[in-house]
């Protein structure tokens, strides 16, 4: 039987390894992109949005999610990311008032992790025993 590293094999532990890899990798990428663009004085919104979409596409494809679920998850993730990102940055600014770039980087990492794991919990194969 053909298999792919980008498709769930049904084994929970290997699925979890893949999701961990994807979410943490994208969180790190978000952080790096955010830091770079902020230091350059460029608006990071669109780039971070593209990265978030890529992460969702990878996860959806991994768990064989349907197209309409992809659209729903993407919309919710982007809107949630937009708000959580701005409000999260405001919260982190309370702790680091003199480091605007750091607050946005931390907010980006937190939001990406939250969104990534939220998508995973919705898509994962889980059987409720009745």
């Amino acid at each position: 039987m053909k298999s792919s590293v980008f498709k769930s094999s049904g084994d929970k532990s290997s699925d979890l390894i893949f999701v961990n890899l994807v979410v943490h990798l994208f969180a790190a990428t978000h952080a790096l992109v955010c830091m770079y663009l902020r230091l350059k004085g460029i608006d990071d919104g669109i780039f971070l949005t593209i990265l978030t979409l890529l992460m969702i596409i990878l996860l959806i494809n991994f768990f064989n999610g349907t197209t309409d679920v992809f659209v729903s998850l993407s919309l919710l993730s982007l809107l949630a990311g937009f708000y959580l990102g701005t409000k999260g940055a405001d919260l982190f600014a309370l702790a680091f008032p003199n480091s605007p770039v750091l607050t946005h980087v931390l907010a980006t990492i937190a939001v990406t992790e939250i969104l990534g794991w939220m998508v995973f919990f919705i898509l994962r194969k889980r059987l409720i025993k009745r």
């Binding site: 053909k2 792919s4 590293v5 919104g45 494809n61 349907t66 729903s72």
Partner: protein, 346 residues
């Protein structure tokens, strides 16, 4: 490594671009709330939602949209479902904006009414709210449906495994083979021709049992032929104490039935009932109302091995899992009847 489908890549790219476009539009429109209304988007949304009848109406309509999309459209036309959801949300947003702004129609009607910035910002805010609600409901429906499907699949697998186990047991049923060899032993000395015919039929029975293992259904004519061969083996043992009446019209012979189902019912009839010259067992197999019926007179043995109805359960489970059909079991004071659905096509 399995290649990612190009079509899926194309689909996701287009949809991702649309979602990205919406995100850009959202970001561009945010400052307009502050500039024109002196309110942030969030505060304006709260103000809009404080109109409770409007909010309740929107929620109910959103639920109806998602229900209709999931129930009637999604499975067959997923993109139509997405489009339907999008357009419905837009329509609700327009209606909401009209609801809020219609009191000023006398002041600004026609083009000016629809070009009014307050109308358009209300429309946009309502649209975003409805999209969020619809998306959330969509994901909720997806999650609950997925759980139910996963459960059904597991139950189906369990039924299939139980059926295959039962079939395997039947194939290797030592009692049947033991009895058959006893009969053969007798026939060898009694009548060589009958013994030879008996061996041929016995091997045909086992060949059929092995051949049909992987098939979900077989033609009724094949199954009837198999039942007749099986019955001939039983007949050598029980002689006139056992009778089989077959009445299957030609027009249904080409349709399908679960393999081994009829044989199992005949075997059950012999297993659970007395078969003797004083109490002859009569088994009737006929077609009725798109079902194959196996009926026998009821004369239960005093002592019988309690199999727990495993055979019937496995046939029932197999029909449910493969064809989503039910068998029917009717037990009267002096008869026992099982009805198996006829499958029209595979």
């Amino acid at each position: 490594m399995k290649s990612i489908s190009l079509r899926r890549v194309f689909e996701f790219t287009i949809l991702a671009l649309l979602v990205l476009g919406f995100r850009v539009l959202f970001q561009e429109l945010m400052p307009m709330f502050q500039e024109n209304l002196n309110l942030t988007f969030g505060k304006f949304l709260v103000k809009l939602l404080s109109n409770y009848p409007l909010t309740l109406s929107m929620l109910l309509l959103d639920f109806a949209i998602v229900y209709i999309a999931n129930r009637y459209i999604k499975e067959r036309w997923p993109y139509i479902s997405i489009l339907f959801t999008f357009l419905s949300s837009l329509l609700i947003a327009v209606l909401s904006a009209l609801w809020i702004r219609i009191p000023i129609w006398s002041d600004a009607h026609g083009y000016r009414f629809f070009a009014d910035i307050y109308f358009n910002l209300t429309l946009f805010t309502s649209f975003v709210f409805n999209l969020v609600i619809v998306s959330s409901l969509h994901i909720y429906f997806y999650y609950t449906t997925k759980q139910e499907r996963a459960l059904k699949m597991e139950i189906g697998k369990k039924n299939k495994a139980r059926y295959q186990y039962t079939q395997l047991k039947n194939q290797l049923n030592p009692h049947f083979l033991f009895n058959s060899l006893n009969v053969l032993d007798y026939l060898i000395f009694e009548d060589q021709q009958r013994a030879s015919d008996f061996v041929r039929k016995l091997s045909s029975v086992y060949r059929y049992l092995l051949k049909k293992e992987d098939k979900p259904a077989v033609r009724i004519s094949e199954e009837i032929e198999f039942v007749c061969q099986y019955f001939d083996l039983l007949k050598e043992r029980f002689r006139d104490a056992l009778t089989l009446n077959l009445s299957i019209p030609d027009d249904i012979s080409g349709r399908y039935i679960i393999p081994g189902g009829l044989q199992m019912l005949v075997e059950n009839a012999v297993k659970h009932n007395m078969v003797s010259q004083e109490h002859p067992l009569i088994i009737c197999i006929f077609a009725d109302n798109n079902m194959i019926v196996v009926k026998n007179n009821l004369q239960l043995r005093m002592t019988t091995i309690d199999s727990g109805g495993v055979g019937l359960k496995s046939i029932k489970g197999q029909y449910q899992y493969l064809f989503n059909k039910d068998i029917s079991v009717i037990s009267g004071p002096d008869f026992f009847q099982v009805e198996l659905p006829i499958i029209d096509s595979l």
